[in-house]
């Protein structure tokens, strides 16, 4: 059997519209996997099913052998549009999530967890601001802190950097992996949660982002009836350095291949 996160023949239908059909994927623990495809191809649908926000019409999704039933604290989600609660401060946004998920912790420890993650994403000095008062990148970092602070086994990112300018996007991509590591180098957090390896599932339409961040890239076919087109291994060793990666032959070849897949093999077909 095997497989940490397992999607077997998952389909999603909205009325008579079949968005996703027979989508099967196996993700191992500690892997970073990207779903890439044209917008509207159903990649976010797949992610929201893994998040437990919508139910597959047919097929099964299991995490550690257990079938998913609704959203759970084992999966942290960073939403496409951040989805911070605008009436709460940056700190409260993180704290309320910690407070809800880690019910067994004391108030003091919850506050410490919230603080740790806000410091890691460098939002601690902005903690009293409301989401409306900070930049898009800062909102994204806060959303990331919120998702990480619940100590999920699986981190789900839905086009996390899509709405940001190119410069902020690259910085945040670099930070994502650093943040991930930093969180589990922290003595307090390690004592609290151990050193279990984290798994990331990421939805994106940015080829560079997919290559830079992932171990494997799942190219999806176009919807309706979207499914797994091709799974591409990213053979770049970690830790990755952006500059070195960009010059790497593997990177150049991968990018060309992915471009070919997206523009020609699974390119947009005109709907008659």
């Amino acid at each position: 059997m095997g497989g940490y996160l397992l999607l077997s023949e998952v389909s999603k239908r909205f009325g008579s519209y079949v968005a996703v059909e027979k989508f099967s994927l196996r993700v191992e623990q500690g892997e970073v996997v990207s779903l890439i495809g044209h917008s509207g191809c159903g990649k976010s649908t797949v992610l929201s099913m893994v998040a437990g926000l919508s139910r597959p019409t047919s097929g099964r999704i299991t995490l550690e052998g257990r079938e998913l039933d609704g959203p759970g604290p084992d999966r942290g989600v960073v939403f496409q549009n951040y989805s911070l609660l605008p009436w709460l401060t940056v700190y409260q946004n993180v704290y309320e999530a910690v407070d809800s998920v880690h019910r067994d912790l004391t108030a003091e420890d919850k506050a410490r967890v919230a603080e740790k993650f806000l410091r890691i994403v460098r939002m601690w000095e902005h903690r009293y601001k409301r989401p409306g008062e900070v930049s898009g990148g800062m909102k994204q970092r806060t959303a990331l802190a919120r998702a990480l602070a619940i100590n999920p086994k699986l981190l789900l990112l839905d086009e996390p950097f899509g709405a940001l300018d190119a410069l902020t996007r690259t910085t945040l991509q670099d930070q994502l992996l650093n943040i991930w590591n930093a969180a589990f180098e922290d003595a307090f957090l390690r004592a609290l949660w151990g050193e279990e390896q984290k798994t990331i599932l990421l939805v994106t339409h940015d080829i560079d982002e997919a290559i830079y961040l992932s171990d494997r890239i799942v190219v999806m076919t176009n919807g309706p009836r979207a499914t797994v087109g091709e799974v591409v291994e990213v053979g770049l060793e970690r830790p990755r350095d952006r500059k070195r990666v960009l010059e790497h032959r593997t990177y150049v070849e991968l990018k060309e291949y992915l471009l070919y897949l997206l523009t020609e093999k699974y390119g947009r077909q005109e709907v008659a």
Binding site: G52, L53, R75, F79, S83, L85, S100
Partner: protein, 270 residues
Amino acid sequence: MQRAALFGRSTRKKLKAPRWIWSSLSVVVGFLLFGAVWYLLSHTVAPRVPDPLATLQTFLELIRNPFYDNGPNDKGIAIQLGVSLLRVFAGFLLGVLIALPLGVLVGSSELLRGALNPVIQLLRPVSPLAWFPVGLAAFAASEKAAVFVIAICSLWPTLINTAAGIASVPEDYKNVARVFRFSPWKYLTRVLLPYALVYILTGFRLGLGIAWMVIVAAEMLSGGTGVGFFIWDSYNALDLNRVMAAILLVGLVGWVLDSVLGYALRKVRV
């Protein structure tokens, strides 16, 4: 030097037309026009209605000694207003206590919305005067009946607006609550109510306006005290100056009430 020149010019420009002068000037002009029309009408088509000058004089007399108390049928206008305000707040608060939880429920359940909407639409347009006998029958006391009438007339905007606010909470925020496992209480206090606050306050504002409008009618029927009674009593004593002055006062108080909630609403929106 250039800076000084610039500064000098900008202050001069400011002195030329401060905005508050213009706005207060337009207020004065508005009232003058209103007074002129009133004056004309009271001297032509409605000669028994006091003109603005007589009304203003009575108004000043009323507020010169607002707190006197010469027994049950002769009290200062501030006392009457105070009694009315207390009734309005009591009735309005009672309405809120009913409408707010009900609005949250109706807003969160489409089934409940379908079931209750016809009832709401049926009861909402009923006149306060029609509710009064119902209140009297139910509570056997005119004081309680007045509060009941205010409650039942003013709760609809709160109910409808709260329900609309709750029903329109974006899917994104609901998903946040689901993903991060918010308890029902946390969901209510951190997601639903904060999101619906603007709607709720708008409901309060409309409801309080209605409550203040209804109080005069309710007190005319219940008698004894309050501005409504004061107006009716003055009319029976053929003192129309007092009627008109009291109307002015009722309008002013209503304006203040509305401004307070309008201010709260602006604070929340920012």
